[in-house]
């Protein structure tokens, strides 16, 4: 069926309206952050991203948090999920339920309830801002779980592991050298989503009085509006690039699968 002329015009008009609604605030950020007090243009606010000591410290903190969270998530989740699939399939529902639970228990609720746990963490481990990693791992769990689960469902993990075991491989070899390389794209997606989520995290850090990137951006908003808008735009841009890269990783996987069949 060929679409009617009216429909095609309406369609383009609607798409333009949506485009305007989503683009104008983003363009406003660019315009606002490059304003000069005299009325011209200047990149001062963007230079502040590296010059302002508080801001650059916060950027480094958030990047470190992202790195640690990805590491913690991978160590905790990947072996567990593979193990459940290979050896304890009856725990599948339990692990899935626990991983998706943070969607129902919002970050705001966790932060209210975690004061006791964190007073122990601060006592036993340290009171550095980097201890936020522990709770961030929980926060990224639902999204990471979905990415890794999709990749695991795409391969026959049980057969692969039986083949490896019968050739004399130990369980560490099976997980590290047989299964993980086969679900690499899922692991990568999980890592990207986690990085984006941690870089955007505000709720928990601000309510526990730690300073990560978003907290500093919000604080700057009160004194240096242009710098905080520039930092917001930069963070958004960085997250976009990451998630855009993610969509290509996912596409590569699909393309490969189509070639196989």
């Amino acid at each position: 069926m060929k679409p009617s002329y009216t429909w095609r015009v309406t369609r383009v008009a609607l798409l333009l309206l949506f485009g305007a609604f989503f683009l104008v605030p983003l363009l406003a950020m660019l315009d606002f952050s490059t304003r000069d007090l005299g009325g011209g243009r200047s990149g001062e606010a963007w230079l502040d991203l590296v010059r302002d000591p508080d801001l650059s410290a916060a950027i480094i903190t958030s990047l470190l948090l992202a790195l640690l969270t990805v590491g913690g998530m991978l160590v905790l989740l990947v072996p567990t999920m593979i193990w459940v699939r290979l050896r304890v399939p009856r725990a599948t529902r339990l692990v899935e339920f626990l991983c998706l639970l943070p969607l129902t228990i919002p970050a705001l609720v966790i932060v209210v309830g975690m004061r006791n746990v964190y007073s122990w963490v601060n006592y036993l481990v340290s009171d550095s801002v980097l201890t936020l990693t522990f709770v961030y791992v929980v926060l990224v769990l639902p999204y990471s779980y979905r990415a890794i689960d999709a990749a695991l469902s795409g391969i026959d993990a049980v057969t692969l592991s039986e083949a490896a075991r019968s050739l004399g491989a130990g369980w560490f070899t099976v997980i590290g050298r047989i299964v993980v390389p086969n679900i690499w794209s899922g692991v990568l997606s999980a890592a990207f989503v986690s990085v984006a989520l941690v870089l955007g995290e505000f709720t928990i850090a601000s309510l526990t009085n730690y300073e990560n990137l978003q907290v500093v951006i919000a604080l700057l908003g009160k004194s240096e509006a242009r710098t905080s808008v520039a930092a917001s735009a930069a963070a958004l841009l960085f997250a976009s690039v990451l998630l855009m890269a993610l969509s290509y990783v996912g596409r590569g996987r699909r393309a490969r699968k189509e070639n196989l069949t």
Partner: protein
């Protein structure tokens, strides 16, 4: 011996279970127990404080904000998803909309608040443009920093979330069904009202519920945007956490968080049930 072989594979799950117990279950239980305690002993005083006039007004504001943005987001998001799904799967439009939606729906928070301040704030780009060009003061008395502003900014991340959640259901509508309906003599109107809408209804309602929960529990945008007063529940929780005594109750933060668990859990359970209905014909 046989018992050991049955148990030992499960033991490998212990680190995962212990970790989640400490960092997810303990905080949740703390909230639930704390909601029913005051000064270390059982009390319903904090729960009763939830029904005070001020707390109820805040809850009402939150419900209005979540429901409004869920409905607007669901309708416009479904429309955008439909515009995207009618484009070829490999088209640039589709890839851009899906990627951008992913970023805006998940990243959100403080960033979006500042985007709108840069656009519509007192010295915002659009505000100044309208002020100098038409002489209209769109900033008014600062509506951006109150409930109306929150509705606008929340809509900005609800539409992309709807696109992400609803797109799979729209993609699941097979062209063969339309062809079959047309073959049997159905008009376009009949196809939509008798076939497509009934099929999509559970997915649409489910997605709307997800949007509601998403808005109800959102904190960052509101915290960055609203500086005066605590018009919605998440901000009241902030006030209860940072100033020890609010409405005369020390454990009020626990009670408010408990209220949030209840609301979100009810909504998400309904969502899960509706998704199960959709998955019967999807794929």
């Amino acid at each position: 011996m046989s018992r050991r072989t049955a148990l030992s594979p499960s033991l490998a799950l212990l680190p995962f279970l212990v970790y989640l117990t400490i960092f997810l279950l303990v905080p949740t239980v703390t909230v639930v127990v704390g909601a029913f305690q005051e000064d270390g002993s059982f009390s319903t005083a904090n729960i009763e404080a939830l029904f005070s006039e001020a707390a109820l007004r805040t809850l009402w504001n939150s419900v209005v904000l979540s429901a409004t943005t869920a409905v607007i987001g669901a309708v416009l998001g479904a429309l955008l998803a439909y515009l995207v799904v009618t484009a070829p799967p490999t088209s640039l439009l589709r890839r851009v909309v899906v990627s951008v939606s992913g970023v805006l729906a998940q990243f959100g928070g403080v960033t979006l608040a500042f985007a709108f301040i840069a656009m519509l704030g007192f010295s915002g780009v659009v505000t100044e443009l309208l002020r100098s060009a038409v002489g209209v003061d769109i900033f008014g008395s600062g509506w951006l920093f109150g409930l109306p502003g929150l509705i606008l900014v929340y809509t900005y991340f609800q539409i992309p979330l709807m696109v992400i959640v609803f797109l799979p259901a729209l993609e699941g509508l097979r062209p063969q069904w339309r062809e079959a309906a047309v073959n049997l003599g159905a008009t376009t109107w009949q196809y939509w009202t008798r076939v497509a809408v009934p099929l999509l209804r559970p997915a649409f309602l489910g997605a709307s519920l997800l949007l509601f929960a998403n808005a109800f529990a959102a904190y960052a945008t509101a915290a960055a945007l609203v500086s005066q007063g605590n018009p919605i529940v998440p901000l009241l929780i902030r006030a209860a956490l940072t100033s020890e005594v609010l409405l005369g109750r020390q454990n009020l933060a626990f009670a408010l968080a408990f209220q949030m668990i209840v609301v979100v859990a009810v909504v998400m359970t309904a969502y899960a049930l509706l998704v199960r209905r959709t998955s019967r014909w999807l794929r």
